[in-house]
């Protein structure tokens, strides 16, 4: 896998998350696609060994941005990086957008909000109206919703928006011709159930990744008759494909 050293363009806190941007001269950045990223790799250090997958948060004027939550060592180091980080070219299959589908519902759970910004931008540019529903643990993580004007928010502890899950903040999803969701697998399964089988239903899944380019077979999700790699056949899947 080829990594590119890119200069950090800007960095800011968005509530509990970090927004980090870098200039990307190439193409291929689309809603739902992702990069493998790390603060530094060989020859500086061989540990942490693997890069980490992150969805594109936004892409505007040649500047790509990632929104991430510090969870462990990989994200802690990215959060500390001051001048450069290393990223791959854009990877995976993103969200399908079909201008004929009509109104779309976008659902994000926690850091699963990440791909919805660029998705909203792409939908808007194709003239597709959409509503955004975001679920968080608490007000602190929900602060990122400021970046999604008009979004309906729910928090588990009720400290911001409706109390409950993202589905408690959303109306009946069956009425939406298109439903897009990203978040923990449990949330995605709930969205799949609530959204029914009519229309375009797409879920961006999160699995542990080794390589990001299909080589390791590490990132699989269950489908009818076996497993498929979420880094090349996903991370966005049609809901009906996933055997959850």
């Amino acid at each position: 896998m080829k990594f590119y050293t890119v200069e950090i363009e800007a960095r800011r806190r968005l509530g509990a998350y970090t927004l980090l941007s870098y200039r990307w001269p190439g193409d291929g950045i689309e809603a739902g696609r992702f990069v493998m990223a790390r603060a530094a790799g060989y020859p500086v250090t061989l540990d942490p060994f693997l890069a980490r997958p992150f969805s594109f948060y936004d892409f505007e004027g040649g500047v790509a941005s990632l929104l991430f939550e510090v969870r462990g060592r990989g994200t802690a180091l990215l959060d500390r990086a001051r001048e450069t980080i290393e990223v791959t070219a854009p990877l995976g299959k993103g969200f399908e957008i079909d201008a004929s589908t009509g109104r779309a519902a976008l659902l994000g759970g926690g850091i699963g909000v990440a791909p919805l910004k660029i998705l909203g931008r792409e939908l808007a540019s194709r003239g597709i109206d959409h509503d955004v529903f975001l679920g968080f643990l608490d007000a602190k993580t929900a602060a990122v919703a400021d970046d999604f004007p008009g979004a309906s928010v729910a928090t588990m502890d009720g400290s911001a928006g409706t109390r409950g899950t993202v589905l408690d903040a959303a109306p009946d999803l069956l009425g939406y011709p298109a439903v897009y969701a990203c978040g923990p697998n449990a949330m995605l399964a709930a969205v799949k159930g609530a959204a029914g089988q009519d229309g375009l239903r797409q879920l961006s899944v999160e699995e542990r990744m080794g390589c990001g380019n299909g080589s390791c077979n590490g990132c699989v999700v269950p489908v009818d008759g076996g497993y498929v790699r979420s880094c090349v056949e996903g991370p966005v899947f049609r809901a009906e494909v996933l055997a959850w």
Binding site: F3, Y42, L46, F49, A51, R208, G214, N217, C219, Y227
Partner: protein, 298 residues
């Protein structure tokens, strides 16, 4: 392209079982997908896809990979579409360099049948036997649990594919005895080494995370010793690997006794072209050709 330019300056070719390879680098089985072949072009002297089995295998449920200090543990479970579908798709791996095919079965008979099937195809330049899988006829011990097991399976494969170059891929445990047995049973070359059995635990959830094989830089010193010890035991050439991450690592494995060097896990975190470029730099500074390095420790 930078790599090509450099490659012309130094002689990277090596001979393996009568084949001339453009470079001594070969991908380790299971670490290079069709989708990533773009990175392989001009870098590898041969292509070696993921192990194929008699029937399709769905593989293990996730999580299948866990990061460890300077390495990773994987438990993929040999997910593959089965040998027939695999052979239908084989042209996808044609980059104009030899294609080696890795096979594994659950019984000696499986292995022999696979070898016969695969050897009959002219696109296959050599066969690698992945002996690290459980032998269902022997209570789950692997096919490289000991010299007798190795001898039996390699002998059967040799008979089933009498003319195709045959590589036996071994783990580090008991590697010297197993190497001798594989050579004795007719293997043309030995691949040393596969992953090391390992376990990762999620202390928070108090559960096993991944039980599988350890690979990556962490295992390099263990693999180097295995290659070194085997090179001092057998006459046949060695495809060495385990943790190779840089051009200097490639040189170390060749010095330890490898003729060809396999790059596996490192290809997830680096562009293999950089590894070849570094190895070319090493050769240029050392003022020698790749083929002269094998076993050339003072």
């Amino acid at each position: 392209m930078v790599v090509r330019e450099r490659a012309t300056e130094v002689d990277l070719t090596v001979e393996l079982c009568g084949m001339t390879l453009n470079t001594p680098l070969v991908p380790a089985s299971g670490t290079l997908a069709k989708e990533a072949l773009g990175e392989a072009e001009g870098v590898y002297g041969a292509i070696l896809p993921k192990t194929t089995t008699p029937r399709a295998r769905a593989g293990n449920p996730p999580p299948r990979v866990a990061e460890t200090p300077a390495g990773m543990v994987n438990s993929i479970g040999l997910q593959n579409p089965g040998v027939e579908r695999f052979m239908e798709d084989l042209d996808a791996f044609d980059l104009g360099v030899p294609i080696f095919v890795s096979v594994a079965g659950e019984t000696v008979r499986d292995f022999a049948d696979l070898c016969e099937r695969v050897a009959g195809d002219d696109r296959v330049a050599a066969i690698e036997l992945n002996l690290s899988c459980p032998n269902v006829e022997h209570g789950g011990l692997t096919f490289c649990a000991g010299p007798a097991a190795v001898e039996e399976v390699v002998g059967a494969c040799r008979a089933a594919a009498p003319t195709k170059p045959l590589f036996a891929k071994l783990t580090h445990e008991g590697v010297v005895g197993n190497a001798r047995a594989a050579e004795g049973a007719g293997a043309d070359a030995l691949t040393v080494m596969n992953t090391i059995p390992a376990l990762t635990i999620d202390a928070k959830k108090r559960s096993i995370l991944v039980r599988g094989g350890l690979s990556g830089p962490a295992v390099k010193p263990v693999a180097l010793k295995a290659v070194y010890d085997v090179a001092r035991t057998v006459e046949v050439p060695i495809l060495g690997g385990g943790g190779v991450t840089s051009g200097v690592d490639v040189a170390e494995f060749m010095l330890a006794g490898a003729t060809v060097v396999q790059v596996g896990t490192a290809s997830f975190v680096r562009d293999p072209a950089e590894i070849l470029a570094e190895f070319s730099d090493y050769l240029r500074e050392a003022g020698t050709a790749a083929a002269n390095l094998t076993g050339a420790l003072e």
